[in-house]
């Protein structure tokens, strides 16, 4: 790992990085595919299409124009890949190394002292892909009329709920927040950020009843539940199914992504606002072609046949790596590394809010969880599943993180079945049945059922091994493969005994996605009822957490509202101290670096880029810089 992935900075100092390109005012070069259209008068010349001050990027290698970037979409709900690859264009974006926020669509910004008012300055002359001006009104429409409307079922970035936007002039957006938000810019740069610049008011207002009286009727006539859903389908970042929506992104979608059309293709946006250091208008690549597949094996096969130019989606697991490694020459591609932001390969979560009294009391006993943790031979798991890569690890920020805490990361990770057995005896679980499984005080065997999805193989491997390890300490782990919606249905209704998922929140996302550090998230499966206190305090299923947990939630809230970064970080450390004492979940190992595949013809492939959900790899690298050698 070459780059230090440090804390996110809340500072306008990064503005210094925002180099405009005044020196190149008239010297822009455009892609040859546009020449004919400009000559024919269909398109204005490059400098009229771009903002007065385009965003100038420093390409690692100045590329050549042309070519197609081929990749895949799995199934019909894989918008995630479109958002990561083609549509990551927020107001402000993460740096490549995820250690700060830099200008993107917004040229600059100001923040008031208590972090409640954020002012973004847009670029003069910035245009949508249909050639009409992009103004502050578009952003105001998105925030005030759509995201803050309860009828909109699409993605609503939590940071923007309750916010009001206003446009003092065409190039200025002011966003006022009801409470201070110390991580607002990081939220705006996250994968949810592009939502606010995703909706051209002229196009999207046709779906809004305030602007089009027929909007509701049009939606229900089309079989939809209401205007909000029509808005989500046509203008939301999730399920953006309508190819006709004008965009600010580097490529314009050509056909609807509806699960029927394949491939989903994209073509260059002539109005794109970025240039390279030589004044070449980006993107370099002319078109994108995303083939829709049903099965991940197909992606692997297309990959090794050299029919994919650049992807890491759905294929970057340990099992596939040898296959990709062996066929690099034949398929004329290479493997590039990514840095996994996850801090764990699998977090085993016993449901501390389980409805069954006997098991809930047992799960809530910290000594029981510690004993189980000592009962796992993590090194064997690492050797078997990860070819020896990784180290035993609990749910804790990664070693590269400024919040790394060795004790939190390493406590109870030694494999010590004797100690585990003594501890289990110590808490009174001495009775065993004929199979050697310990019994609850009420006589039932301690058999912990855990359902896991069929399509993510490594959980199954890990759990199969854990089941063998726990057999030695008299605990039965009943691992079941199940269809994933079944697993989720169980979890969402709190019917799960235990749950397993990878460890999100290891790097720059630690503070934003703290699901394993305290109960605050839909995915905090160890205590969903306690999590309601944070997520949805009015929910009927909410339960009062124990005192320490309540204190932790309180500290977490204070952290969000702390305008001073130092104070904020200190509060987060206090949150993590409680995590350490509570020991909610059982981690397994630190994931090794991951990978993607890239055709040898592709230039500017990002090596060692972080990979997380809220940091939508490869988006923040500026995919418009990718190019194809002819």
């Amino acid at each position: 790992m070459t780059r230090h992935v440090g804390r996110l900075c809340l500072s306008t100092a990064v503005l210094a990085l925002a180099a405009g390109a005044p020196a190149l005012a008239n010297g822009y070069t455009q892609a040859p595919m546009l020449d004919a259209r400009v000559d024919a008068g269909e398109l204005p010349p490059a400098e009229e299409r771009m903002p007065a001050e385009p965003l100038q990027l420093e390409a690692p290698e100045v590329g050549t124009y042309g070519g197609t970037w081929r990749s895949t979409l799995k199934g019909n709900n894989d918008e995630g890949w479109i958002r990561r690859s083609a549509n990551y264009e927020p107001l402000v974006s993460y740096t490549f190394g995820w250690d700060g926020v830099v200008p993107n669509i917004a040229q600059s910004w100001d923040v008031n002292e208590d972090a409640t008012r954020f002012t973004f300055h847009l670029r003069e002359g910035h245009k949508w892909s249909d050639g009409t001006p992009f103004t502050a009104e578009d952003v105001v429409f998105a925030i005030n009329d759509v995201i803050n409307s309860d009828s909109f079922p699409g993605e609503r970035p939590p940071a923007l709920l309750g916010a009001t936007a206003s446009a003092p002039d065409a190039q200025t957006v002011v966003i006022d927040l009801p409470v201070p938000h110390s991580l607002f810019l990081e939220q705006m740069a996250s994968v949810a950020g592009p939502q606010v610049v995703h909706m051209q008011k002229a196009f999207c207002s046709q779906f809004h009843p305030d602007y089009n009286p027929d909007a509701e009727k049009n939606a229900t006539d089309a079989g939809l539940s209401g205007w909000g859903e029509a808005m989500m389908l046509n203008c939301g970042v999730r399920r953006n199914r309508n190819a006709e929506r004008p965009t600010l992104a580097a490529w314009i979608q050509q056909v609807d992504y509806d699960g029927i059309n394949t491939p989903v293709s994209f073509a260059r946006n002539p109005y794109y606002f970025k240039v390279d250091q030589d004044g070449n208008q980006l993107p370099y690549i002319d078109t994108l072609s995303m083939t829709q597949v049903e099965d991940a094996n197909s992606i692997v096969l297309m990959g090794i046949a050299g029919e994919i130019d650049f992807t890491n989606r759905h294929i970057d697991n340990v099992a596939n790596k040898p296959v990709f490694f062996d066929n690099q020459k034949k398929g004329d591609y290479k493997i590039y590394d990514t840095i996994v932001a996850d801090m764990n390969t699998a977090i085993i979560q016993l449901n501390l809010n389980y409805d069954d009294d006997g098991f809930r009391e047992l799960f809530q006993n910290k000594d029981f969880r510690i004993a189980l943790s000592h009962g796992i031979d993590r090194q064997e798991i690492i050797d078997v599943v990860y070819a020896g890569l990784g180290e035993p690890y609990q749910a804790a920020p990664r070693p590269e993180s400024p919040f790394y805490d060795e004790e939190l990361a390493k406590q109870y990770t030694e494999w010590d079945p004797d100690l585990a057995n003594r501890m289990l005896d110590g808490i009174g679980l001495t009775e065993r049945n004929g199979d050697g499984i310990r019994l609850l005080p009420d006589g039932r065997p301690i058999s912990i059922r855990i359902d896991t999805t069929t399509d993510l193989g490594t959980y199954l491997d890990i759990l199969e091994l854990v089941a063998l390890h726990w057999e030695e300490i008299g605990i039965d782990l009943d691992v079941r493969k199940a269809e994933r919606s079944y697993v989720y249905e169980q979890k969402d209704n709190n019917r799960h005994m235990a749950h397993v998922w990878k460890g999100d929140g290891g790097l720059g996302d630690a503070m934003l996605d703290s699901r394993y550090y305290l109960p605050m998230h839909d995915e905090s499966a160890f205590a969903l009822r306690w999590a309601m206190n944070w997520k949805d305090p009015n929910n009927a299923t909410r339960q009062d957490p124990p005192e320490e947990v309540a204190r932790q939630l309180d500290l977490y809230k204070k952290m969000y509202e702390a305008a001073d970064p130092a104070e904020r970080d200190e509060l987060f450390r206090q949150v993590l101290e409680i995590t350490r004492d509570q020991f909610y979940t059982i981690g397994v190992s630190l994931p090794p670096s991951s990978y993607g595949i890239a055709s040898n013809a592709m230039g500017n492939i990002p090596e060692n880029q972080p990979h997380a959900w809220i940091y939508p790899n490869p988006g923040p690298m500026n995919t418009s810089l990718l190019f194809k050698r002819q």
């Binding site: 309860d150 079922p153 609503r156 079989g223 509806d258 699960g259 049903e294 919606s485 995915e523």
Partner: protein
Amino acid sequence: MLQFIANRILTMIGMTLMLSFVCFFIIQLPPGDVISAYAAELAAAGDSSGGQMEEMLRERYGLNQPFVVQYLKWLRNLLVGDLGYSFNLSKPVSEIIESRIGISLLVEMLAITVLWAIAVPIGIYSAVRRYSVGDMFATVFGFIGLAVPNFLLALLIMYLVYVFTGTAVEGLFSAEYANARWSLGRILDFLSHVWIPVVVIATGGAAPIIRVLRANLLDELNKPYVVTARAKGMKESRLIMRYPVRVAMIPLVATVGWVLPTIISSSIVTAIVLNLPTLSPILLRSLLSQDMHLAGALILFMGILTLVGTLVSDLLLAWIDPRIRTGMAT
């Protein structure tokens, strides 16, 4: 006969109604609904689900209503020709079926034609030349086709094509022809793709036809009437084709009508591995995601095809074997 057909069609209408209820019931049987399935799919892809969206959509689609109310609503819409709306694909169900039915028909018909064209002659040959090398070969080959799961066979063929040619054969068209109009180039491109599903479906389905035909033909071949005909000097090929084959086909004909619903579902797993743009992957997706209207419409459609297929089979049976005609009339 007309009376018979009319009666059958009447019963079919009643059964379709029952079927619609059972289908709807089965689809909603697994826990969860289309919204939670959607959230789960996003989570599995590493994305987080959009919290409050779920409750809102559930409310709006009436998923919180009792099952019977949902069913009656669906049925009412069906009766006026509205197949409903697919949440998962955000499209009217009729539009989805329309866009895929043609290619599904084409692929399945091609596969079934090839299957029967190969299996029936082999079955006859196997019986007539019992225990010859050819018979043994057909048996072993047929059973390998039957014993290897289609899923694995499809994957294996794809991988072997890759090993030998270095290309990945996916779907039914290359990217450049996928959205194009039919042309000579597109037909050739189609043929260069479609052979894999045809081979997979045919190898998987050949053994039953070969074995059943062989077994029944063997029962007939040694019957005295055949021996007599042979003794009288009737030409062997004419002799076999004329009577024993006809009799031996009865069991096949009895179930041939059930080929009809395979247009949608015969090869769900194959279609998924091979990325065929047919209705099969859509059916599986809709079931897994409990997309009620889409799954309901497809299953009901398949059910109706089965009913029609059974009727067709019965009529064929009566045509092929006059004895059955009398049996049914009683």
